[in-house]
Amino acid sequence: MATSSTPTGQDMSATPRPIIEVDSVVIRFAGDSGDGMQLTGSEFTKASAVAGNDLSTLPDYPAEIRAPTGTLFGVSGFQLQFASHQVFTPGDQPDVLVAMNPAALKTNLPDLVTSGSLIVNTAAFTKPNLTKAKYESNPLEDGSLEGYQVFPVDVTGLTKECLKDSGLNAKSIDRCKNFFALGMTFWMFNRPIEPALKSINDKFRKKKPELADANIQVFKAGYHYGETAEIFTQSVQVKRAEIAPGKYRNIMGNSATAIGLVTGATLAELPLLYAGYPITPASTILHELSRYRAYGATTIQVEDEIAAAGAAIGASFGGSIGVTASSGPGVALKAEAMGLAVSLELPLVVVNVQRGGPSTGLPTKTEQSDLLQMLYGRNGESPVAVLSARTPGDCFDCAIEAVRIAVKYMTPVVLMTDGYLANGAEPWRIPKLSDIAPFPAKFRTDPENFFPYERDEKTLARPWVKPGTPGLAHRVGGLEKDALTGHVSYDPENHQKMCELRRDKILRIQQELGPIEVNGEHEGEVLVIGWGSTYGAITKSVNELREGGAKVSHVHLRWLNPLHPHPPQPQALRPTPWTARPARSRCGTVARSRSPGWDAT
């Protein structure tokens, strides 16, 4: 638990107990993939948000839906950092580990801080489970946990006892045990219990009322157990963080992307057609958007990734904003269709929720290794606009921006997020309607002197014409276009001109971008350049180094194509003696593709 522990001895509950006040806590829930650790973690997250802490989360689950129980590869985890100050990451090492079985202990213990707190479900430490976790002796008994604050609790047994009169079968009872663990942690960290009670009720009441009652009962039992069993000698208090005033909700990256897309379409006064194909970790964008028919979003699940891109482009041709999302392997399949959208010069938003590669790679693990794919992964010279989100909440702003630029410049726009942002959560300040200006799309309706590839002087965008508009019937296609009429042209000079136009159109997007922000001095010894979800980790590290007196600055790129224009101070991005470009990929693709020489497209 980070910094400045001061016993206050405040009397916060019925039973007097010493309360330790700390600035931040990192807690990790780990158990079998069927143990409900993701749900447990997200309930703890909601309560911490309501308690006014700043927070950041990291779910980490196996690709197997129900891996064999008790195995090392079947362990599912959820880590959360909550603090009384601004939080940039889910934390490096947990202060508290909740391990529901031996496998969870084995895989997660190496990360726990020295002398960290360890809550273990003793009932799960059976011979077969120890064997499955490849323990030769029981770590609860062999002294190997010395140095940690171990809280052994028979979570399974206590849950059974609590629900013995519930009428539920043994299997259902066993599946309630995560709420016992949750209840204990709520007591331990003084979390308000009302949000969890409401949430459990909302989740289970309609479909399985008996489970709503059981889970609430077990949750309360866990909470009271913490209070009465006196195994936790103290409780921990993390004060409210000072955050900007306003209304907040918790948001995960893919949710933010989904509502950002709907918001963007609404502001553009366009219907939204989202076509998708299931893929981890992008699918939840499709799930969430599918609930927003009433908000002007139509979703279709189609036969493959190519069809998803095709249907989105078809909708854009018809005057909607076409959107598709996928992850690396799926986006690879969309490449040809994206190239067509470059040639057709139609708006299109493609979201790449990156995951580990190559090939199928690591579907449930995050990585930032698709930047080169998005910048260059199409045949011919086919530039598209590329931007990246830095936090879960930032996905909302980036999705709106992607729609705005796609429509204004008649171009495909790629929004890059990743598994870390997609499934991670943070408190999100809900915007006010007055904060965001609408940007209604313009359609050409005047048949006088109409040329399908005539360009707007400022943006170089061609006119958007809805089929059905009288007198403006025209044909577009993937064959090279005459720069004015749009007729098929094999003329080499025209091709040169079109390549330049397509490049210049993307460069014109720089008009929209403010100067790049520099965290730190514009002249220093080390400049750290990052993009995407490394924002939190870089910011935290740079701030720590700067507090230690190091001359380190940080620039975080939102736009990757085009790059932000030069900052007003010409020296700001002059190569410093050291330029570090960290990314969540081994080779750091931005280092190879985007050097501070700023040679865009």
Binding site: A49, V50, R249, V262, A294, T298, G310, G468, A473, G477
Partner: protein
């Protein structure tokens, strides 16, 4: 658009030079579409023609409607996205045997399964023309081409059987040179609500000349074509032969007339039959053992995908009149920081 002047065939002809090889069957198909559209009073501004890649897929450039020349095999995907978002538009897909049955096979079957309200013209010349003569998924086994100098070992697809298997609600077959029949089929497809597909036997006089000559030439026609007409007995060869189904449901060719099989025993064609098995059985009639059926194999009614999606939307909108950005953003647990 009731006030619009009656359009003629030439009103559907764009100013672009048609670049197909002289003698190509595509010219006739283009002309029959233009003629039929004029006769149907199709509104050019509300019609979109979307093609994939291949010789036939140049088609949209030669029409005065809205059009999109897309990518290989994927035309149904663009058409689906367009039709779902703009159900009032009249959307046609132009494709070939390689485009729709090889690289685009997946999209073709899913368009059928969904019953999107699209009209698909499948130009079948049993060869890859644009890439200079390789065998296609409809080429006959043993076909010698630049890519199969020893003869193709592939078993061909029959397009009609494929789409019937995928649940197509309107399936017809016609021939490029049979202008009247082709126009009739185009008009029937236009009138159908749901995915309508016409397989058009099309001659590639450069790479696969005479691909259907055994069926289409003047002398063989009577003997080799079975004209499917709803409600009419399946007769051919000037009415001297017919199709009868035996006890196992297998069709067989019989001689019709006095002292032979009576007309009553000849099956009357029913394109509205609910089971696709009947139409599928007809699709198995092939040269040289049987006459080849041309006409409408199947025309049944089923809700369309675009209607179903848009009805869901209307219901969702009606159920949530309060849907606005503010309610979109304020979901879940909301708290206030001061």
């Amino acid at each position: 658009m009731g006030s619009e002047i009656k359009l003629k065939k030439k009103d559907f002809q764009s100013d672009q030079d048609v670049r197909w090889c002289p003698g190509c069957g595509d010219y006739s198909i283009l002309a029959q579409v233009q003629k039929s559209f004029a006769e149907l009073g199709v509104n050019r501004d509300e019609t979109v023609i979307i093609s994939g890649i291949g010789c036939s897929s140049r088609f949209p450039y030669y029409m005065t409607t809205y059009g999109m020349h897309s990518i290989h095999g994927r035309a149904p995907t663009f058409a689906t996205g367009l039709k779902v978002s703009r159900p009032e538009l009249n959307v046609w897909v132009i494709t070939g045997d390689g485009d729709s049955l090889s690289i685009g096979g997946n999209h073709l079957i899913h368009a059928m399964r969904r019953n999107v309200n699209l009209k698909i013209l499948l130009f079948n010349n049993r060869i890859y023309g644009l890439t200079k003569g390789q065998y296609s998924p409809t080429s006959e086994t043993g076909k010698r081409t630049p890519s199969t100098p020893l003869g193709s070992v592939d078993n061909p697809f029959d397009p009609v059987s494929v789409v019937l298997g995928a649940g197509a609600t309107f399936v017809a077959r016609s021939i490029d040179t049979d202008t009247k029949h082709l126009q009739e089929m185009i008009k029937r497809a236009h009138a159908h609500k749901g995915t309508a597909i016409i397989e058009i036997y099309q001659n590639c006089n450069v790479f696969n000349d005479g691909a259907f000559v055994q069926i289409t030439n003047k002398d063989a026609k009577e003997e080799q074509q079975l004209r499917l007409v709803h409600g009419e007995p399946m007769l051919f060869a000037g009415g001297t032969k017919g199709i009868r189904f035996n006890q196992l449901g297998v069709p067989e060719v019989v001689e019709v007339g006095e002292g032979k099989t009576s007309l009553d025993a000849i099956c009357k064609h029913d394109e509205t039959m609910d089971t696709p098995a009947y139409a599928f059985t007809l699709a198995q009639l092939r040269y040289p053992d049987h006459p080849t059926p041309v006409g409408v194999f199947r025309a049944v009614s089923r809700p369309t995908y675009d209607d179903a999606v848009n009805e869901q939307t209307q219901r969702a909108v009606a159920a949530k009149p309060s849907a606005d950005l503010s309610s979109l953003w304020h979901q879940g647990e909301v708290w206030e920081a001061e």
